[in-house]
C-alpha cells in the first residue's frame, strides 16, 4: 500500500476514529464523507469508537491473504462494535478452535504487515478475545 494512502488512515487504523452524524446520530466506521442515511442533510464529525465488540461471524483462514502467510491459519471475524458499526478484523492471540459467535472482543494495536523488508511497517487494529 502506498505510503500516503496508509498515512491518511492512521487515525482510523490506530485509534478507531470514525464519524458521527450530527443529524441522525448514527456512528459510522470506517469513516465516510457523506452520511449514507442523511446524505446532504448529514453533519459528520470525527468520533472515536470504543474498542469493544462481539463476534458476529468468523472463519479460519488457511489460504492466507498476501502478507499474512506467516500467521496462517488465522481467525478472521466480523465484529459488531459497542458503538454500533461492524468491522472486519483478524482475531489475534486466538487458537483456531477457540473462537465462537458471540465472543466478546477488544480492539488492540498490532502490526498489520510491511511493504517488504525495506518498506514501511503497517500498524492497525485487530480483535482479541477478552
Amino acid at each position: 500500500m502506498a505510503v500516503p494512502r496508509f498515512w491518511r488512515e492512521i487515525p482510523n487504523r490506530y485509534n478507531l476514529v470514525g464519524a458521527r452524524c450530527g443529524n441522525c446520530n448514527k456512528v459510522l466506521f470506517p469513516p465516510r464523507y457523506i452520511c449514507p442515511f442523511c446524505r446532504r442533510m448529514g453533519k459528520l464529525e470525527p468520533y472515536r469508537l470504543k474498542r469493544r465488540g462481539k463476534v458476529l461471524t468468523y472463519t479460519v483462514v488457511h489460504a492466507a491473504a498476501n502478507g499474512f502467510e506467516d500467521q496462517a491459519p488465522y481467525v478472521l471475524a466480523i465484529v459488531e462494535l459497542e458503538d454500533g458499526p461492524r468491522l472486519t478484523a483478524q482475531v489475534t492471540d486466538c487458537n483456531t478452535d477457540e473462537i465462537k459467535i458471540g465472543d466478546e472482543v477488544e480492539i488492540v494495536f498490532r502490526r498489520m504487515g510491511e511493504d517488504g523488508q525495506d518498506g514501511v511497517i503497517y500498524y492497525g487494529f485487530k480483535a482479541r478475545r477478552v
Partner: protein, 348 residues
C-alpha cells in the same frame, strides 16, 4: 525534586517457551540451566507484535490508570534495543496511537536495557524545569538472541510505560531523587545491521552489571543519606534470576525486599522493560509511605537508580488497569518450532 509517577502500565505477550523446550533442541541439561540462571520460561512476542505494539499497549494501560488527557503529555520517549526501524522513531507511533499528537516532543532512546529508565530521568528534568506538564517514558523490547546462544534462554519481550508529572493529587508515588553511574564498558553490544548481539561472557558480570548497579545504588543511598533498611523494596535489572539476588546481598538488602520485583524466572529478561516492569510489579502491591529503590542496568555501560516513595490513593488508581501479575499469569506455552516461526527464524 518535586516530581512523581502519575501512572504506569505494562504489557507482556502471552506466549511462553520453557527452558526444557530450548534445552531439548540444543542438547543442554535443563536443570543446569534453570539452576544457573534461576529462570523457568520466557515470554515470546506473537508474529504481529513488536516493540511498537508492546509500547502502545503499555502506554494505553498507563493512561487508563491516570484519566489524564493524552494531549497533556508533552514528551514521549521510547527506549529499546529492538526498535522496529533503525531510522524512524517508535515514539511517534506511540504518540499517535495514544492521541497525544501533535503538541509534544518525542524521540527514541538506546542504551541497551536501561533505555527506558533514561527516559524517566529526562521526563523528570523536563517536568521539574516546568518545560512540560507530563512526560511519558517507555521501555519496550522484543529481544533477539542467536539460536543456541546462552541468551536464548532469557531474551524475552515486554514493555512498561511510566507517566511523570509534578507531585500533587494526580501522582501515586513521588520520585525522591535519581543517580546514574556511567562508564564506557563494552560488555554486550550489537553492531549496526547485524541481527544478534555479542557479549563478553563472564566479563558481563563484575566489570559490567555489578560494578554499575552497585555503584549507582550506593551513590543514591549516599546522596539521600539512606540505608537499605529505609526501603521496603528494591528492584534491579533482571538479566537472570541470580544477578539481582547477588546485588541485593552485596548491598545489604534482604530476599524479602527483592522478591516482589523479581519476575525474570516467569517472563525472562524483557531488556528495556526489565527494571520498569519489576518496579511496576512492586507498585501494584506497595502501600503508601513505603520506599522503593529501583536500579536499572544498560550494557555499554550504565546504571540509573531511583528512590520512590508511594503516596496515598495508589490503591484505587492502580486497579484501573491490568496488573503485572495479570499478564504474567496469562500464558500460552509454545514449542520450539512455533517459537522459531514466531521469531522469523523460519520464513516461508
Amino acid at each position: 525534586m518535586d516530581v512523581g509517577v502519575v501512572g504506569y502500565g505494562v504489557y507482556i505477550p502471552r506466549y511462553r517457551i520453557r527452558v526444557e523446550e530450548i534445552a531439548k533442541v540444543w542438547g543442554d541439561d535443563p536443570e543446569s540451566v534453570k539452576r544457573g540462571l534461576l529462570i523457568e520460561e520466557k515470554s515470546v512476542p506473537a508474529p504481529d507484535e513488536d516493540t511498537a505494539t508492546i509500547a502502545v499497549e503499555a502506554a494505553r494501560n498507563a493512561l487508563k490508570q491516570t484519566g489524564i488527557d493524552p494531549h497533556d503529555i508533552e514528551a514521549i520517549y521510547v527506549g529499546s534495543e529492538s526498535h522496529p526501524y533503525a531510522v524512524k522513531p517508535t515514539a511517534t507511533i506511540v504518540a499517535e496511537a495514544i492521541e497525544a499528537t501533535p503538541d509534544l516532543t518525542a524521540a527514541d532512546y538506546e542504551f541497551a536495557c536501561k533505555a527506558g529508565t533514561v527516559g524517566i530521568q529526562t521526563c523528570m528534568g523536563a517536568v521539574e524545569a516546568g518545560m512540560i506538564k507530563y512526560g511519558m517514558a517507555i521501555g519496550s523490547d522484543t529481544a533477539q538472541s542467536a539460536p543456541g546462544d546462552a541468551l536464548e534462554y532469557t531474551a524475552a519481550a515486554g514493555g512498561c510505560a511510566f507517566i511523570v508529572g509534578r507531585n500533587g493529587s494526580k501522582t501515586l508515588a513521588a520520585i525522591e531523587d535519581t543517580y546514574s553511574y556511567t562508564t564506557d564498558t563494552p560488555d554486550f553490544w550489537r553492531r549496526e545491521m547485524r541481527s544478534y548481539p555479542k557479549h563478553g561472557g563472564r566479563f558481563t558480570g563484575k566489570p559490567g552489571y555489578f560494578k554499575h548497579v552497585l555503584a549507582a545504588a550506593n551513590g543514591l543511598l549516599r546522596k539521600l543519606q539512606l540505608t537499605p533498611q529505609d526501603f521496603a523494596y528494591v528492584v534491579f535489572h533482571q538479566p537472570n534470576g541470580k544477578f539481582p539476588l547477588l546485588a541485593a546481598k552485596e548491598l545489604g538488602f534482604s530476599k524479602e525486599q527483592v522478591a516482589p520485583g523479581l519476575l525474570v524466572s516467569k517472563i525472562g529478561n524483557t531488556y528495556s522493560g526489565s527494571t520498569m516492569i519489576g518496579l511496576a510489579a512492586v507498585l501494584d502491591q506497595a502501600k503508601p509511605e513505603e520506599r522503593i529503590l529501583a536500579v536499572s542496568y544498560g550494557s555499554g555501560a550504565g546504571s540509573d537508580a531511583f528512590s520512590i516513595i508511594v503516596r496515598d490513593g495508589i490503591e484505587s488508581k492502580r486497579d484501573a488497569a491490568p496488573k503485572v501479575l495479570d499478564y504474567v499469569g496469562q500464558r500460552v506455552i509454545i514449542d520450539y518450532a512455533t517459537y522459531a516461526k514466531f521469531k522469523k527464524l523460519l520464513v516461508k
